[in-house]
Subunit: 231 residues, 2 copies
């Protein structure tokens, strides 16, 4: 039986944008596991009440349900050891945990600044009040004030990605010769920006552009099915 | 025959402080390889002229010489596959490469600000002019001006270490249940600060303090042989 994945969606339910959900989507494809997507909105708390927490991704696998993209990745390698591994060793899992937390803490605030206004505009009408009030409380200012210095902040975001470029100068994927969960972590972050932001957060000559394209081509273009917002 | 490692030393040649040399020292101990240390000063370019570059660590292993701590780590696992591995898989090596570059780019500028004046004071007299002029040219200001906001900058340095704390909340070492090269990378950075800075760059209640102590206890207290500068 196929698994079910609750994934964050825009007003157009084919526009899946959450970085965390993309990590899980790519991980499932990596392992060749079939999954049925359930588009989910921020305010749709009842639909995932069974998970006893309020955010996605939530993966339902028969009698099991797992939430949090990192926990899901560990679950998949543990419960489906026969399929291609997301992590090839204990150290790889440990260091990928570092990469996951680094991406969340370093890339996500910078990306949020770039995308928050166009992302807000894409949301389902029913989500907009919730999104604005919860984010403005967290940020301590309006979405508009937070985004006001987006252009000035872009160089620092691009500079923070430097260690990714160092790794990719030596090999085609962050994981090595073939993609694995470390790639899905960072790709999730960039895909979130790609589908929501009219301006590409990567400069045209950034070597990360080529790697991102390799990621978009994986699994029969799984992630390229959601179009880029940039022209 | 034991290998020879050229390591950066202070005026007191027992005070070895380079983060890159400490990575190599710990890596050699991890693999159980004997090494003879040659204390080296910044201006002692002739002593390592054979390496065709001007910085340490330089490892001499029979007819081979290898420089750059990352390159040395790869060399050791490749040439001494029979001893304990520094990396347990290709992915682990890839993600550790990310961690290495992250530490150099993120931790090192912040640590430099904290330690540069006390470190300067510890240097051999023959190194001081070289150190001051090369660093001031790189920084675009005097050492004193660069260090002037050290106290104000310390919280950002500590905050940047957050992903390390996330990993260590789940396991005793960055590499997992046992230490490996990822631990030596970050330990090298903290050891550089520990031996040169009268103020501990870690807050007393930082969980990284316990991990650092575990690292200091490794290999019969190899790294604790150089005393902490902090009271």
């Amino acid at each position: 039986m196929a698994m079910t994945l609750y994934e964050l969606a825009a007003a157009d339910s084919s526009i899946l944008f959450s970085p965390h959900c993309w990590r899980t989507r790519m991980a499932l494809a990596h392992k060749g596991l079939e999954v049925e997507t359930r588009p989910w909105r921020f305010t749709d708390k009842e639909a995932i009440a069974f998970s006893e927490q309020g955010t996605v991704p939530v993966l339902v696998d028969g009698q099991h349900h797992v939430s949090d993209s990192w926990t899901i990745a560990l679950y998949l390698d543990e419960h489906y050891p026969g399929s291609s591994h997301l992590f090839d060793s204990p150290q790889a899992r440990s260091y990928a945990r570092f990469l996951n937390d680094w991406a969340n803490r370093t890339l996500h605030p910078g990306i949020t600044k770039q995308i928050i206004l166009p992302l807000f505009a894409m949301l389902d009408e029913g989500d907009k009040d919730y999104f604005r009030s919860s984010r403005e409380q967290r940020l301590g200012m309006t979405l508009e004030d937070f985004a006001a210095d987006a252009e000035a902040a872009l160089p620092a975001l691009r500079a923070a990605m430097a260690p990714l470029r160092t790794v990719l100068a030596a090999q085609p994927y962050l994981a090595g010769d073939a993609p694995a969960y470390g790639d899905y972590i960072v790709f999730g972050s960039l895909q979130w920006a790609r589908v929501s932001c009219p301006k590409d957060i990567l400069a045209a000559d950034d070597p990360l552009v080529e790697w991102r394209q390799r990621m978009l081509d994986l699994y029969e273009g799984l992630a390229s099915a959601v179009p880029a917002r940039a022209a």
